[in-house]
Symmetry: C2
Subunit: 266 residues, 2 copies
C-alpha cells in the first residue's frame, strides 16, 4: 500500500477547484525496503499514456484529433502538468504529434513514414526469426502453436479487437522469445506505429491471410528452417504493407479532405 492512495473521489466530475493536494500517489514508491511485489505502481502519467494509447489503437481517437490539455486533465482529475508529461511521452512514441504553441494531435503518419516503418520491421524481423531458428526450444514452438490457434479462434468468432491484438502480439511473442528486451521494446514501438498506420490507411487485408502467414512461419521455425522462416517473414510484412492503401493518390485525397493540414514529413 502506501502508494495507491488515490481514493475513488473521481466521482466528482469537476473536482478541479478544491485542494486536490492529497493523494498525489505520484510514482511508484518502490524504495530500498526490499522488494515489494507491487507491480502496478500505475503512476498517474502512465495511466494517461496507456489510456490514450489504447484509445488510439482501438480507433476511438482518430488521427488528427486535437488533444486539449485541460480537457484531459479534467477527465483524469489531475493538473495539466501531468497531462503534458503524458503527451510528451506519447509524442516520443510517435502516436501523438506536438505542434509548437498549437497543441497535441493524434499523429497522421504519412505514406512515406508508413513505408519506412514497414521497411524497418522487415529488416529487424527477418533476421529475428532467422536467428531464432537456432535457439528456439520445443516448448516455445508449442507456445507459438497455442498463440496462432488463439488467433484463428478470435478470427472465427469475429472478435475484431481481440483479433487485432493477437495478430500484433504474435510479433511481440517472437521478440520476447529471442530474449532481448531492447529489441522487444523497439519492436513494440514499431508495432504501435504500425497499428496507427493500419488504422489510417484502412487495410483490405483479410486477417485470415495474416494468420495463415503466421502458421507458416511457425512451421518453418519448428523445422528450424532459417532461410524459409526469414523469407516467409519478409513476405508476410510485405504483404501486409502491400495491402494498405498506400498509393500516394489515395493518401493525398484523404489529406485533402481532412480538416487537418498534416502536410508532410514525420
Amino acid at each position: 500500500m502506501s502508494s495507491a492512495r488515490t481514493p475513488e473521489n473521481m466521482s466528482t466530475p469537476r473536482a478541479r477547484a478544491g485542494r486536490a493536494a492529497v493523494g498525489p500517489a505520484a510514482a511508484s514508491p518502490r524504495r530500498t525496503r526490499h522488494a515489494l511485489p507491487e507491480l502496478v505502481p500505475a503512476g498517474a502519467t502512465q495511466r494517461i499514456v496507456e489510456s490514450i494509447t489504447t484509445a488510439i489503437i482501438e480507433r476511438r481517437l482518430m488521427p488528427g484529433t486535437k488533444l486539449v490539455e485541460q480537457r484531459i486533465a479534467d477527465i483524469f482529475d489531475v493538473s495539466r502538468t501531468i497531462v503534458r508529461q503524458a503527451l510528451n511521452q506519447l509524442s516520443r512514441d510517435r502516436l501523438v504529434t506536438l505542434e509548437p504553441a498549437r497543441g497535441a494531435f493524434v499523429s497522421s503518419p504519412t505514406v512515406e513514414e508508413a513505408r519506412q516503418v514497414f521497411e524497418v520491421r522487415a529488416l529487424l524481423e527477418t533476421n529475428l526469426v532467422r536467428q531464432l531458428c537456432a535457439r528456439i526450444t520445443d516448448t516455445q514452438v508449442t507456445q507459438l502453436r497455442t498463440h496462432v490457434r488463439d488467433e484463428s479462434e478470435a478470427i472465427r468468432r469475429t472478435d475484431v479487437s481481440g483479433r487485432t491484438r493477437l495478430l500484433a502480439d504474435f510479433h511481440m511473442v517472437l521478440a520476447r522469445m529471442f530474449g532481448n528486451e531492447v529489441l522487444a521494446q523497439l519492436l513494440a514501438d514499431l508495432l504501435s506505429r504500425s497499428s496507427l498506420i493500419a488504422l489510417m490507411y484502412q487495410s483490405s487485408h483479410s486477417a485470415g491471410h495474416s494468420q495463415d502467414d503466421h502458421v507458416q512461419i511457425v512451421d518453418a521455425l519448428e523445422r528450424r528452417d532459417a532461410r524459409a522462416a526469414a523469407k516467409l517473414m519478409e513476405q508476410h510484412i510485405a504483404s501486409v504493407e502491400r495491402n494498405l492503401r498506400l498509393d500516394p493518390r489515395a493518401s493525398n485525397l484523404a489529406a485533402a479532405l481532412r480538416p487537418l493540414d498534416d502536410g508532410d514529413s514525420r
Copy 2:
C-alpha cells in the same frame, strides 16, 4: 515543448528572484506565419538535452552522476519545468535513468543491456548493408570513401574526440544512405547508447581495427557483394562488443568500487 520562437534574449543575469523580468518571449508582434525556415533557434529544452548528451558522450559526465534539477536550471537560467522536460527526453533515450522521488542519474547500462544493444545493432545493420548493396550508387560509394579517409586521418593525428565521432558516424551515414529516416533515428538511439556503453566498459579495442573493418565494408559495398558486406558488418559489431570488458566480474567490481577515476588517457 521547446518554444521554438522564444529568443533567449531575456538573459537577465539576475533573473531568478521575483518576477522573472517580463515576457520571456520579448514578443514579436508580427504575424510571420510559417514560411520561416526557423531551423536553428532550438528551444531551450532541446539545448539542454544536447548539452547533457554531448557531455555524457564526451565523458564529462560519468555514469551514476546525479543530475539535480535546480542546479541545471540555474546553469541554463531556466526554470525546473524546462529541465524536467529535458531530463524526461533524455530518459527516453536511455542516457539518463529516472528514479522515482530520488532524481535523475546518468545511466549505467548493465552488461546484459550492453549485450542486447549490440545484438539489435547486428540484426539491423547486417540487413541494412545487405539491402544497401542493391541500391547504393557510385556517388555514395565515393562519399563513403571520403568518410573512411577522414576516419583514418583523425586516427593518424590522434584526434580522439573526432575519431570517436567519425567512427560512430560511419554507421549513421550508412543508415542515411538507405533513405529511411525511421531507421536512421532508431540507429541514432542505439549508437548513443553504444557510446555510453563503450565509455563504461572501457574498450581496449583499437580504433584502427574498427577503421579497417569500415574500409572492408566499403569495399564489399563497392563490389555490391551483399553477402560479404553483411558478414563483415556482423563481424565488425561482434568484434567491437567482444573487445569491451563485459565479463560480469569486472562490471560488478567496477560498480562496487564506484569508478570515479576520470583517468582518461588523453
